[in-house]
Amino acid sequence: MRTPLLFRTLALFDTTGWIATGLFVAIMLVLLPLLHLALPEQSPFYVSSYVIALLGKILCYAIVAVAMDLIWGYGGILSLGHGVFFALGGYAFGMYLMRAIGHDGVYQSDLADFMVFLDWKAYPWYWSGTEYILWSLVLVVAVPAFLAITFGFFAFRSRIKGVYFSIITQAMTYAFMLLFFRNETGFGGNNGFTDFKRILGIPITSPGMRVGLFMLSGLTLLMTLLLCRYLVTSKFGRVLTAIRDAESRVMFLGYNPLWYKLTAWTISAVLCGIAGALYVPQVGIINPSEMSPANSIEIAIWVAVGGRATLWGPVLGAFIVNLAKSYFSVAFPDYWLFFLGSLFVVVTLFLPDGVLGLWKRLRSRVRRRT
């Protein structure tokens, strides 16, 4: 007999996991939105829209970090090109946001401003349908999925592994960045998309919309965690980690690693795309620099800092690194990259299991003493 879905969902986390989940929901989906919307600005507990925007952005990064953990922590595949899936999701939803500007652009034209500037007369074919939010949401999923499947199929079929795989993912994101830098590509060149006005007629800067996007990001992160947790605790996950540890042994048991890797890889890419789509309206801009190789490397650093193959660790990592980043870029803007670099070195040398691993070690030490 099959176990009912509810029990299986409950079994996904242990007690600590569910407490963490509950805390997360309470803070992200209830407390912060309330403090922002319900309190007057003078109140000491008021949460400013700056904080909401910053945390909303980090929630999107956290989704990417969890997606990265699925493929790196559990699949052993270090992608240094995940930024491209994030950016493609962002661009896909950005097309809708551009269309929703309507006549309110600088040139008050039907076309996007950058197209008027290029003296284009109509939207190119791949923009068709993007005035409908549903179609652009389809693209948010379909475009990263398509790229992931084609790229992944050939890379995994050729049994490209380890550092070689990492390098070609870097090359991939770099190539896409160059492509999107070109004005003729039709995505706004190096300026990308910006000056968004509204989603479904609601002004994008209104508190309701901000909080709505923020909560949606939190909810998506939660669903991402549950989905990935389900995957890694299923037999699929056990095969995936087995492939990570001894791929040829898995083949001689009759599993074809190609399809396992490709499935995990594509799910990971789609999650990144969704994160990108949530990110763009919250930060108000998307441009090709999101596809820079360094951006993708940073994603790997979040995961390493938080702790690989833990799912919650990467969430923590994304928050720690990005909160530090927003502090540093105000306080010591010149030193951020040095800090990031040394953080990475310290973590790889002394904390192979990241912050979460450190915490677990400390906890078990305390337990042993008492």
């Binding site: 001894a246 083949m251 009759g254 599993y255 399809w259």
Partner: protein
């Protein structure tokens, strides 16, 4: 009943049956001539060096065959060819009468019923003993099945049967990486049993085992012969003597001698190869 449901049932997805679709349908292996494995003129060269040199070998269904030979004779390379890990430069490898192994991938070959134990014990060190066996279990190995597969009573029963057979009952929840060398060997043999293969290839299965463990392994192999066919590569002559009826001696990628252990041990060229080193 919707039509798709019917179709699945026909393919073996029905209740009680654990989803053996696209599986080792052992009847697919044509054994009409009583031969389960036939290697013909297999040549493998690495940078000009011939690890296998027109090797021809035939294994009968249900046979327990030992392969011996000095280091570098090509024993492991032969297994690589049978399991699809290495593609021979020329020659053919038939599983049964009709199946050409040189055209199949590793997972396909494994799914057709050829299981392998590696020379260096390879278990999944970061999985528990239970999980190692569960992963090896003969089931549908496709992604869509693994996504929804559950550890049910049938799986637990099969695993605990095997645990008993390989004497690891108490270790089910232990990380496989923490087992002793001999226990890992046993676990890998257990994984082979879970696969229910038609043909088992065992590369130095008793290396690192105590005498007692070795003896039990010999018993196990003898009990498997008949229903399964086994090809055992081993350096331990006492072990070979205790299990094999027919021994094949490999040297420099060719068959040097074949026959009972007593007979091959007395052949001058075999003595020369072993003593000349």
């Amino acid at each position: 009943m919707p039509p798709w449901f019917k179709k699945k049932q026909q393919r073996g997805f029905g209740s009680g049956d654990a989803g053996y679709a696209r599986l080792v349908d052992n009847s697919a292996v044509d054994l009409s001539h009583g031969v389960i494995l036939y290697l013909e003129d297999i040549t493998v060269s690495f940078d000009g060096f011939k690890a296998l040199d027109r090797l021809t070998l035939s294994i009968d269904d249900g046979e327990l065959r030992c392969i011996i030979g000095p280091n570098g004779a090509g024993k492991t390379t032969m297994m690589d060819c049978i399991t699809g890990k290495t593609r021979p430069d020329s020659g053919s490898a038939y599983f049964g009468q009709a199946m050409d192994l040189t055209r199949m991938t590793e997972p396909e070959i494994a799914a057709m019923g050829i299981g392998r134990k590696f020379q260096k014990p390879t278990v999944f060190e970061r999985h528990s003993v239970f999980e190692n066996l569960e992963l090896a279990l003969k089931r549908d190995k496709r992604v869509r099945y693994s996504l929804v597969a559950q550890v049910d009573d049938e799986v637990r029963d099969r695993v605990s049967d095997t645990l008993q057979r390989i004497r690891l009952e108490g270790e089910a929840e232990r990380m496989a990486g923490l087992l002793s060398h001999g226990q890992k060997q046993w676990l890998e043999i257990g994984m082979l049993l879970m696969q229910e293969p038609r043909l088992l290839l065992l590369d130095e299965p008793v290396a690192g085992m105590t005498d007692d463990e070795t003896e039990r392994t010999a018993e196990l192999f003898q009990s498997l012969a008949g229903q399964h066919s086994l090809v055992v590569v081993e350096h331990d002559m006492a072990f070979v003597a205790s299990i094999a009826s027919i021994v094949t001696v490999l040297h420099e990628g060719r068959v040097l001698a074949e026959g009972t252990l007593d007979k091959v041990q007395n052949e001058p060229q075999v003595i020369e190869v072993y003593l000349g080193r």
